[in-house]
């Protein structure tokens, strides 16, 4: 009994010592409740130097947390108990979060740098008048491929993926909307199609793709493609530019049948504690110089027209990542299909994944 008590006391003493230690470390680094700003962003989606610069400029301490899917991010914010001040969801997630009252309206007068954003990216259907969200990046979904592994073959369309030459050569990103979406696109249907017959047709077509699919993976896809583990990958444009930065052999194409055009916008979740800080941060990121630096680092396309002018010609003139407006008109933005349809998309995707060779 005495030993037991002694052990308990020891455990408590150690626990409190650790807690005090953490507190001491935090306050010595300047983290003290009111002067922190918590940013909840996609992994690898900001130049870390910009965070340091922002901390210096604003005197705030940034706590940076990451997520890897809109759904995971929404679940976390919905559950509460979080104090994210800024987050960066994609367009369909924004309209969903708006519906569920998870966002705070944005006061444009506190964001003078908003003037630098290209009109094309403002006042879009998912958030009229940008009442709740401010553009951060935009991009497409397409195919990254390695011509040197394919005898110089230039892939152009989604239907090329079904070519028998690509047997066991395709890596797919683990996303239901992306995969079912290109299945629909390859049949010239809209990627927001909700008609059951079309969806079944797309699923049946996708299941014939199975022999060509090597794996369905997450963020590892970048490393695997750069290491030439497979010749072809279906990825987001920014991932493609990152992969191409690591391996010069690769090329990226937005398939001719059409594809997804997406926007990631900054929002203030309703759980925010430091709203002033959130505005400061957003305004900081909207500054053309910062936006250009960020775009060069991350590789996605910036909606900031003055930042675009600052970028080197070989980035801003690259049609693969900055397609002309007449091209982007052919692309579709994901609509929020509602919970039930999203569940159905996932069910189909799960069935596709279960299809064995």
């Amino acid at each position: 009994m005495k030993q037991l008590v002694r052990m308990f006391v020891a455990v408590f003493v150690v626990a409190f010592a650790l807690m005090y230690g953490v507190h001491l470390l935090n306050s010595s680094e300047g983290y003290a409740g009111s002067n922190t700003l918590t940013i909840y962003n996609w992994g690898d989606y900001i130049d870390p130097d910009l965070i340091t610069e922002f901390e210096k400029e604003s005197g705030l301490k940034v706590i940076y947390q990451t997520f890897d899917s809109n759904e995971a991010m929404m679940t976390k914010i919905e559950q509460g108990g979080t104090t994210f001040d800024v987050s960066v969801p994609s367009e369909y997630a924004i309209s969903k979060m708006k519906e569920e009252n998870l966002l705070l309206p944005i006061d444009h007068s506190k964001l003078p740098n908003l003037a630098h954003i290209d009109e094309r990216f403002l006042n879009l259907s998912f958030d009229p008048d940008n009442e709740y969200s401010i553009p951060y990046f935009w991009g497409t979904v397409g195919i990254v491929y390695n011509p040197s592994m394919l005898d110089g073959w230039q892939i152009k369309s989604w239907n090329d993926l079904w070519d028998p030459r690509l047997r066991n050569q395709i890596l797919l990103v683990d996303g239901a909307r992306e995969v079912i979406g290109f299945g629909l696109n390859s049949l010239h249907y809209s990627l927001n199609d909700t008609e059951e017959a079309h969806l079944q047709e797309a699923k049946n077509k996708l299941s014939t793709l199975t022999p060509n699919v090597k794996a369905i993976v997450g963020d590892e896809i970048k490393m695997l493609l750069a290491n030439e583990e497979a010749a072809v990958g279906v990825v987001w444009s920014g991932d493609a530019s990152e992969i191409m930065g690591e391996n010069e052999n690769l090329d990226y194409v937005v398939p001719e049948e059409g594809s997804n055009l997406w926007f990631d916008n900054m929002v203030i979740p309703k759980t925010a504690r430091n709203i002033e800080g959130a505005y400061k941060f957003m305004n900081f990121m909207l500054d053309p110089e910062h936006a250009a630096q960020n775009a060069e680092y991350v590789g996605y396309s910036t909606p900031n027209k003055d930042a675009l002018a600052l970028l080197p010609e070989d980035i801003s003139g690259d049609e693969r990542f900055y397609p002309a407006p007449e091209l982007t008109e052919k692309l579709e933005v994901y609509r929020n299909l509602g919970k039930r349809m999203l569940a159905h998309y996932n069910e189909l995707f799960l069935e596709f994944k279960m299809h064995r060779k």
Partner: protein, 269 residues
């Protein structure tokens, strides 16, 4: 110690069980009774018996079975050898050491090792066998899972072997039993509880593996664990996710009962 004070000491334990075992399971059962729009329904349970989930259940079982079988196949002789070595504790420590490293880190390491241009393929290439696809196959999935679970199999088997009185083996050999008979009739029956504990410790978590199915098997292996993760995080169909979890809990409970100690029968035999 009086009954009253004994009951007093039981409070933390009871509170723990109620808060962290009973309540979560009750919540899972509760959630499983609602569909995606929050209406009360039993449809999740009937949905579970559709071909998609049945196939998933079967494949989860099949892989969990393979993983357990291979773990046992490797762990038993290894544990036996361990009991014969001089520095038992040191060897045991070395075997347990990898389980202190984060699972994800180990999985990423295998991505590098097994890749087309990884060390393993480079070795195969120099041996003249040529590069093979190792990553994203059933083989790599079972191999990595066995590697991860093996310490949990070795420990209970090792403990059972340690507890066994070595003079029993001598006695068996003196009485004319061959080495195989000795193992079959003396060593194995005396360590069967360790084997059971090890199998439980491997089979049950193997049934709901999910990170490795994506990283190592490239989603070519779909288990119930993957489906639960999808339903909670992506689809937000908590009802279906909870339903699968309920079935897993039931299946695991059944396994515990079936592999539990059945001393009575062993004695009467």
């Amino acid at each position: 110690m009086s009954v009253k004070s004994r009951n007093l000491y039981l409070i933390p334990y009871a509170a723990w069980i109620v808060l962290f075992v009973v309540a979560p399971i009750a919540l899972i059962v509760y959630y499983s009774l609602f569909d995606i729009e929050g209406n009360f329904t039993f449809s999740n349970y009937s949905d579970f018996f559709t071909p998609v989930y049945m196939r998933m259940t079967l494949s989860s079982f099949w892989y969990a079975f393979l993983i357990t079988a291979f773990s046992l196949l490797i762990a038993y002789p290894a544990a036996y050898l361990l009991t014969r070595t001089k520095h038992k504790q040191l060897w045991l420590l070395l075997i347990i050491l990898p389980s202190w490293i984060n699972l994800l880190l180990k999985a990423y390491a295998f991505l590098g090792l097994f890749g087309t241009y990884g060390i393993v393929n480079a070795a195969l290439d120099t041996l003249g066998i040529g590069r093979q696809q190792i990553l994203f196959t059933d083989f790599s999935f079972v191999f990595v899972s066995v590697y991860i679970f093996i310490p949990f199999m070795i420990l209970p088997v090792f403990n059972a072997l340690e507890k066994m009185n070595p003079s029993l083996i001598d006695a068996s050999r003196d009485l004319g039993a061959s080495a195989w008979t000795t193992f079959q009739r003396v060593v194995f029956p005396l360590t069967v509880n360790g084997v059971k504990a090890g199998c439980q410790a491997v089979f049950i978590p193997a049934l709901s593996l999910f990170m490795i199915t994506r990283l190592i098997a490239g989603n070519r292996v779909i288990t119930l664990g993957t489906a639960i993760e999808q339903h909670f995080l992506v689809t937000q169909d908590w009802g279906m996710g909870a339903t699968i979890a309920v079935f897993l809990v039931v299946i695991m409970a059944l396994i515990m009962v079936l592999t539990g100690n059945r001393r009575k029968r062993e004695v009467s035999r």
